[in-house]
Symmetry: C2
Subunit: 123 residues, 2 copies
């Protein structure tokens, strides 16, 4: 389990990626908004979170990701179409992370799947 | 300007609200994802941000708001329909805040308007 979820990138590379706003293409495309409140359980949460960012970014149809956490955590991943969201949701390693999230890492959460209709970027 | 943007709620009340995930209604409804990177300019930024949360929550069609900031800031406001988003965008006090944001508070930002098509809430 631990091996499966160990982050393969250095933390600084992940932090670097997280600090940028992705230059998404012209809409329409899709967004998955994942909002969460953490429990007090650590159990390699940071490794899992970093690994999921890494893994998501390798999937077909992935367009970018944004993340911030203070009182709540918000992670938004952007996708080309609904099919790429479905494949990512069903990815074996991601399913393990989702189950662990529901069972121990999150006291509450919301997943919202959205169609991005327009955007205004100043990057 | 300062008077206009002074937060009327105590900071603790705002923090309280921000820590919750809103119980949004059944989709479809709309989300405005605002992602930003701050400049080093302070100039009452926190007062303005708190005031905008307060003001948005009073608008017709407002459904909830989520916010987190670490390397980047993410604020997602949820709305009943596109018309309520348009009215909020054009609200006089909000327009002043937007202009100040573009001119001094944000080095980069993205606004994305989305239609929420489905959700999974565990609140």
């Amino acid at each position: 389990m631990k091996d499966q979820l160990t982050a393969q990138n250095s933390k600084s590379k992940i932090e670097n990626r997280k600090s940028q706003i992705p230059a998404t293409p012209e809409p329409p495309y899709y967004a998955v908004i994942f909002t969460s409140v953490r429990t007090d359980v650590d159990d390699n949460y940071d490794d899992m979170a970093a690994r999921m960012v890494e893994l998501a970014s390798e999937q077909d149809g992935f367009l970018g990701i944004e993340h911030a956490r203070d009182n709540i955590g918000i992670t938004i991943s952007y996708w080309r179409d609904e099919e790429s969201i479905r494949r990512w949701k069903d990815h074996a390693e991601h399913r393990i992370a989702q189950r662990n999230g529901y069972e121990k890492w999150y006291s509450s959460f919301a997943t919202r799947v959205c169609k991005v209709e327009r955007q205004n970027l100043k990057l």
